[in-house]
């Protein structure tokens, strides 16, 4: 798994790439919680995620819950079909705010 973190219009955009699996989800968790801890709204781009498992989903849930406690926004953007299927199986597609694109997410409210 690779990741990038950048700022866009006052928001933090985390892009994850590759497999967010048991081997790599501890890194994803660390990155996501670090970004949420900064107090800005966080958008997670999943367009380049080729595979995500329960441990990767758990990282997203933990960051989502941390953002709720902070009162900041946390949203997923450009979720590809493979990742969306896993979120659907977990019934989390209705829990996370999901935007089709980053511009849609940053332009509107999460």
């Amino acid at each position: 798994m690779e990741h990038t973190v950048r700022e866009e219009r006052g928001n933090v955009v985390v892009s994850l790439k590759g497999d967010v699996d048991l081997e790599h989800s501890p890194k994803a968790r660390e990155v996501l919680l670090g970004c949420v801890g900064g107090g800005q709204d966080v958008f997670v781009d999943l367009s380049a995620v080729s595979y995500i498992d329960s441990s990767g989903v758990a990282s997203l849930v933990e960051a989502f819950q941390a953002s709720k406690q902070k009162g900041t926004r946390f949203a997923l953007v450009a979720v590809n079909a493979a990742a969306l299927r896993v979120l659907e199986l977990a019934r989390l597609d209705k829990v996370f705010t999901i935007h089709e694109s980053l511009s849609e997410g940053i332009g509107g409210g999460a």
Partner: protein, 141 residues
């Protein structure tokens, strides 16, 4: 009724380590697609097998281990039968339950994924008498 024809389509034995799972996923995807599973079904099956291996690593062995996981896929009629064997102390199958999905929290989803994807899930003792045998069946759509 004669037994449906069966054929072993994959047999693996690998250390119980997270870094092994990517290769396992690739092998499982190739094998089940070769048996006629759609791309969506193959993705679901890959997820379920990965989660079952993770359960062995995290819960049966209590973390990464040089102990092995043995895995087989059998193509039997219109179904795929998956066998996973570990050499850890026997688990209590009643403790391997999916959690309530309305309770939004990190973790605990792996068993839910397995139950959602597979048509049959059964724990038993392997023929050697030591460890755990997980047998799962998925009908080919």
């Amino acid at each position: 009724m004669p037994e449906p024809r069966s054929r072993r389509v994959l047999q693996l034995c690998f250390p119980a380590r997270a870094a092994e799972l990517k290769g396992v996923r690739e092998a499982v995807r190739e094998a089940v697609e070769g048996c006629g599973c759609s791309a969506k079904s193959s993705g679901d099956v890959v997820l379920a097998i990965d989660e079952a291996c993770q359960n062995i690593i995290r819960h049966a062995y209590g973390g990464e281990s040089d102990e092995v996981i043995e895995f087989e896929i059998e193509h039997r009629g219109d179904a795929l039968v998956f066998w996973l064997v570990d050499h850890a102390p026997a688990i209590d199958p009643s403790q391997v339950r999916p959690r309530d999905l309305d309770d939004i929290r990190p973790g605990g989803l792996g068993t839910h994924f397995i139950r959602r994807v597979m048509d049959e899930v059964e724990f038993s003792n392997p023929p050697s008498g030591r460890g755990n045998l997980l047998r799962m069946v998925r009908r080919i759509d």
